[in-house]
Amino acid sequence: MSQPIIEFKDFGFQYNAQAEPTLHHINLSIYPGEKVLIAGPSGSGKSTLASCINGLVPFSYPGTTTGSLTVAGIDAPHSSLFELSKHVGTVLQDPDGQFIGLTVAEDIAFALENDQVPQAEMKKIVDEVAGLVDIQDRLTHAPHELSGGQKQRVSLAGVMVDDVEILLFDEPLANLDPATGKQTIELIEAIQKRTGAAVLIIEHRLEDVLWRSVDRIILVEEGKIIADTTPDELLASNLLIENGIREPLYLTALKYAGVSVTPEKKPAHIDSICLDEADRQMVCDWFANTAPAVQQEQAEVLLEVQDVTFGYNDGQTNLEHVSFSVRKGEMLSIVGRNGAGKSTLSKLICGFETPNSGRILLNGRDLVGDTIKERASRIGYVMQNPNQMISKPMIWDEVELGLLQTDLTPEERARRVEETLKICGLYPFRKWPVSALSFGQKKRVTIASVLVMNPEIIILDEPTAGQDFRHYTDIMEFLRSLNRRGVTVMMITHDMHLMQEYTNRALVFSIKRLLHDGTAVEAITMPELVKAASLKETSLFALAQRCGIEPPQAFVQRFIDYDRQVREHE
């Protein structure tokens, strides 16, 4: 075998700001042209591992290293960020934040400019690379004129202008809708085939990355490598679940049916997995023997949106003729591609914007004329990023903030805050500063600060974005417990798992319109709907088809209901 392009030998790293090392005794070799997925829960050290390769560690985030790390023949910890950047191209998580230039062309050219490449040559390279990632007709566009997927193409082009031997992707799927995520994985594969570079993908969304083959998966937990093996081997083991990584859903379904998953069955893809007659029969039997869930009775209508049309500017619309109603105690998802009007809808309901035509009713009363503040006591809104909502250093003050504007006495306020903190599991932390909390706990604080106003309905924008499976489950189970207490919950999301695991109903938006108002299962199984709204078909659907279960939708629904019961009893 040829020389490894990246070689960790008994490597360790400790950030200066931390008491404990983040990485311990890492031994890892990656060879030219390999495609490797680095998986692990948040805080496992997988991002630090990647930062060691591109030089952000130790050059931007200083600390002490032990052992050795060679990248493209360079002694990485003793070289420089600039030297490493000639060999390693890094695409960061946030496609918007890393867009440096004012236009696409300038952003792609950025590294060339820093290398003092003459203008004529620079323009030639930019045109060439833009063609590779298929963004050549958008060269003069500003970042706000691009979609998330296009911005990511630009980021990729920006690192490809140097002939790098290693491409590093830090959670490339985090901010993308499901269909764009799929395209990104395809693009990464196409680029790798063309350039022959070694590709490292850091992601915890395993099933999405495995849409295209990878050579190896490295599983990182608590700063150590606990698995370095092929996808088939890893998926057949229990390591994923033990380490808080979600396994592909079709595997969960197979396990429920009692099928044993072995590496020989090639479980890495739903299309390639070998299922013999006995296996298929087991799945069919499981389906036949599992009782469908009991339908809940319908409560009265809480929120009603009637033929609402709205545009931010005159002469154009962002939402057209949207009508639906939400019943008391429902928990539903709002899905669809970016710019389809999901956020606009929530802004209209909260009263940030006023519809051009149509009505929004709460408990049968038209909300028109109610100020945002007046609506705030009945409708709560939680932003995606808790750091954008928290404005007080102390948890108690943060939760109390909204109440200060009301006529409540201090005693009543204290009682309400206390009660809310207890519901949200934050009571033990009530005297803590917000800064001492984890991301998930901060999310709880923001939900608490909205809940304290006693709203009948809460709207959450991407409640679990960027969270690993453990934190995701944590946040979602919490929301479910609130829902059981009678709070109606609406969630805007790109996460297909969230939609199917926690909500029965989905509102699917596509290009200004409410395309579909039905079950979550329909949204991930109806091909035309999946396509129009940039969603992703669930692998369970393919599994049902392969086992000859008719209709496949019923199998998906049965799985979801069963899975919910299983997790509730855990």
């Binding site: 960061l92 440096i100 300038e106 060339l112 620079m122 323009k123 690192v159 802004k347 940030f352 903030l401």
Partner: protein
Amino acid sequence: MSKNAALSYLPRQSVVHRLTGTAKLAFFLLWSTAAMLTYDTRLLAAMTITGLVLFSVSRIRLREVKGALIFMMILVLLNLFAIFLFSPDQGTHVYGTKHVILPLFWRYEITQETLFYLLNFFLKYSAVIPVALLFILATNPSEFAASLAGIGVSYKIGYAVALALRYIPDVQRDFHNISQAQQARGIDLSGKDKAFTRLKNSAAILLPLVLSSLARIETISNAMELRGFGKHKKRSWYVQRPFERRDWVALAIALGVLALSLGLTLAKGSRYFNPFQ
């Protein structure tokens, strides 16, 4: 929102737009120096007219920048008023004569000299404002950084300007979203509450805005370093254009005006044009 209140680039087909960013910046700097040095009414009036002509040549209409223009005019008038308030006899000081038009009270009186002095002051601003606006409105923001580097400013400073231009819309959007989310928690930021409460409530936006901006800065500085920013003393520019004849002509004109401004001052031994003697 009022039209172009933030003074952003307005692309047009004009000779002003075709000048390179460096030429426009140099022209603006020379021109303002000339206007700052002299109080010669004739020269300032000529510069004002030239500035307005250039503005019309650029095909940018004054009403497109109405908001900014009104704001600047208010500032200029305030400035003139403050001069009168603190030094009501400045005109007499400068021109040596005193022709009272209207006595007010105590030491305040309106004289021809004062009015003329204030007129000159006003002309100084009116000579510079159109040219300054043109530099901002007719220079492609992509060219700002390159043009600063072109006159010898370190490219790191130039790039700081470019980044500000890149991220101002993002920060504005953050601000907007944060303020809406805070209002949805019952924190009133509209006109209904008392001014003090509103001020206090605005702090509810500030902290999250600062924190999210800091997070942005961390991402962007990592992204820049990973792509070799700061590696060399110099860098090349994707958008920079070579100097053409019209750029040299513009520079020559600006230098000519500066020379005239200096010349008039030196020739007469005074920065003022005095019609009273």
